[in-house]
């Protein structure tokens, strides 16, 4: 029972982090209908930037966070302006492949700039694990969870109430209609990419702080696909719920099944869960089926 609770709690914490990263994906998808396969690489860049400012330049933690978010926004902006802007109206496969190509470029550049050494962050938070009474949670995970949830809340509020957020939602609903209502759709696309990149970069910082950083950190990004598919690609609430489901189930599966398979279950479990759920609900748990027209 103790083990179960331990796995459950750390699963929830991991799920919170997944939710933040998935949000980075959903924000972009919702506004632009682009599947960003480079979300993991945005994370990785965020983590490396944080490492550079914090460990190599000795900048204090709060300014570092602000700098990371600024840089991520610039990255998202540049990516949208230089690449995705040219892909408007292209078939899905081209858009997917362009983001895959982008992720390859980002991985290569990261290795050239930072080398492919494994690095770890200087301690950001008190080392003592958080005692919930019935279980202990690693401090990096606990703080990571708290920051993720705060960030998710902020993003959700922006999307729901801020003027730009409302415009983004309008764009998501109907691009042409939004355009004719005087919303600058292209600006919205850029805005969405910047926001999505910030969310992913923050997620990367948290993941890097938990497990260290290397150019393969982006591989965690693959796990957001089960998360967002379960939650429905365009639902912020769904991303959060999907994050928790995947976080908890993969942790339980890893904890109980790893001894039988010799490890690695955590990496594959999200996909198995996703396939099982998709077989029952082909549009995920919250996604809605489009009414197709002729």
């Amino acid at each position: 029972m103790d083990i179960f609770l331990q796995l459950l709690v750390s699963g929830v914490a991991t799920g919170g982090v997944y939710a933040l990263i998935a949000l980075g994906f959903v924000l972009i998808y919702k506004a632009t209908h682009i599947i960003n396969f480079a979300t993991g690489e945005f994370m990785m860049i965020g983590a490396y930037l944080c490492y550079t400012f914090l460990a190599l330049s000795g900048i204090p933690i709060i300014p570092t966070f602000i700098l990371v978010m600024l840089c991520a926004a610039v990255l998202g902006f540049l990516v949208e302006r230089t690449i995705l802007r040219h892909m408007l109206g292209q078939p899905v496969i081209s858009i997917i492949m362009v983001t895959i190509g982008l992720s390859s470029i980002l991985v290569g550049l990261t290795e050239i700039i930072w080398s492919s050494q494994f690095e770890s962050f200087p301690p950001l938070f008190p080392r003592a694990p958080l005692d919930l009474g019935f279980v202990l949670v690693r401090s990096t995970l606990a703080y990571g969870f708290a920051i993720s949830m705060a960030a998710v809340a902020v993003f959700a509020l922006i999307f729901k109430y801020a003027k730009a957020g409302v415009a983004m939602r309008a764009t998501a609903g109907d691009q042409m209609a939004a355009f004719s209502m005087g919303i600058n759709v292209k600006t919205m696309f850029t805005f969405a990419w910047a926001l999505g990149a910030i969310a992913a970069a923050l997620g990367g910082v948290i993941v890097g702080n938990i497990g260290g950083i290397s150019p393969v950190l982006g591989a965690v990004g693959l796990k957001i696909f089960p998360v967002v598919i379960l939650g429905g690609l365009d639902s912020i609430g769904g991303a959060v719920v999907g994050g928790f489901i995947i976080g908890v189930l993969e942790n339980l599966a890893g904890g109980y099944l790893d001894p039988h398979f010799g490890g690695g279950v955590k990496e594959v479990a999200p996909f198995v869960i996703m396939v099982l759920i998709l077989l029952v609900k082909p549009h995920g748990l919250f996604g809605k089926e489009d009414i197709e027209r002729l």
Binding site: I96, G101, G108, E111, L222, F225, G262, G264, L278
Partner: protein, 347 residues
């Protein structure tokens, strides 16, 4: 300049190679391919063999993704299934190469059908992610089904032979690979001369109206998955017998992406493009490697950048082609031909 290309029968108009000139060039190409292993060194033959395997795999992926519009991120895993099938059948049951080759295709095709089955209810991105799941799950299986796959240590294969004739050397195996690649290309080209190929393209272009035109979407999507993974399995079997070893590391997600890159660079929905793409994506990294090798004298550290630089260039190629030449090398080839057809009287 070629003019006066008139056809008197519909059969002549429907032929793939429509003029004597084209057939002559094709004959010359065949001759060059036949002579090549006798004049080329071991390294070039090895490169040709790797390229040949890539052609088989890329044509297969193009049928599914380029022609039928179903994006697959699991192509490498299907190649893995073929490779493991051939390795296991060879080492456990001692089956000859000529049997393991088609069997690898069949087993991979069965896996492909299972992965394609959800296409009845899912499409587009959802299906794409389902193929990603197949890649991840099969990858896990290769590593962890120790009793069958020997985990990360992999399986070593004995040199293949056909009717007692050993194919141990690259030269002998070259002929197997080239023949098979030619067969695969011809068969796939043939598909698109019949109703089956037209149905594939119709599904890609507009699946709803395809169904209203009398096409059973599910059946034809499964066909596409079947053909594609069958060829992937055979390519995997060829690769296993070429390298004489199979490990999970040979079939990562990265390889699936590389095959997608081949058909994008070569030309989505073009058989010829699959060949161009396979050659291009195999040869360019080699050129890059050797040119960086030349620079090594200037700065011994430079090889450290080789791998990341390859990654960057790989990504750039995908992006640049998609943005500037979405129809790939095949389209550039077509323009080149159109230019020379009228040359020197362009106007």
């Amino acid at each position: 300049m070629r003019i006066g290309d008139f056809k008197e029968t519909y059969a002549a108009d429907e032929a793939v190679f429509r003029t004597g000139t084209v057939r002559l060039w094709l004959g010359l190409l065949g001759l060059a391919l036949a002579v090549f292993p006798f004049v080329a060194g071991e390294y070039l033959i090895y490169m040709a063999n790797i390229t040949g395997v890539a052609v088989v795999g890329a044509v297969g992926l193009n049928v599914l993704t380029g022609f039928t519009g179903q994006i697959s991120l699991g192509h490498a895993a299907f190649m893995g299934v073929g490779a493991y099938t051939s390795a296991i059948l060879t080492t456990r049951l001692g089956l000859p190469f000529l049997l393991t080759l088609p069997l690898s295709g069949v087993v991979a095709a069965l896996c492909g059908l299972i992965v394609g089955a959800p296409s009845m209810r899912m499409k587009g991105l959802y299906l794409c992610i389902a193929t990603l799941a197949a890649q991840v799950i099969l990858d896990f299986t290769f590593v962890h089904w120790e009793s069958m796959t020997h985990g990360i240590r992999g399986i070593n294969l004995p040199p293949p032979s056909i009717f007692g004739l050993s194919l141990a050397g690259g030269q002998a195996f070259y002929f197997v690979i080239v023949t098979l690649a030619a067969l695969a290309v011809t068969a796939c080209r043939n598909i698109f001369r019949t109703r089956v190929g037209r149905a594939f393209i119709a599904i890609r272009d507009r699946d709803i109206s395809a169904e209203l035109m009398g096409i059973n979407l599910f059946r034809y999507k499964l066909y596409a998955f079947g053909v594609s993974s069958f060829l992937a399995g055979m390519a995997g079997c060829l690769l296993a017998n070429l390298l004489k070893v199979v490990t999970p590391e040979h079939f990562p997600l990265q390889l699936s992406i590389q095959y997608l890159a081949m058909i994008i660079v070569g030309g989505l929905g073009s058989i010829l493009g699959s060949i161009f793409g396979a050659i291009f994506m195999t040869v360019v990294p080699e050129i890059l490697r050797s040119s960086l090798g030349l620079l090594q004298g200037l700065d011994p550290q430079i090889m450290r950048y080789l791998f990341p630089l390859q990654t960057v260039i790989f990504g750039l190629l995908i992006v640049v082609f998609l943005v500037f030449e979405p129809h790939g090398l095949a389209e550039m080839w077509r323009r080149l031909k159109a230019y020379f057809r009228l040359w020197p009287f362009e106007y």
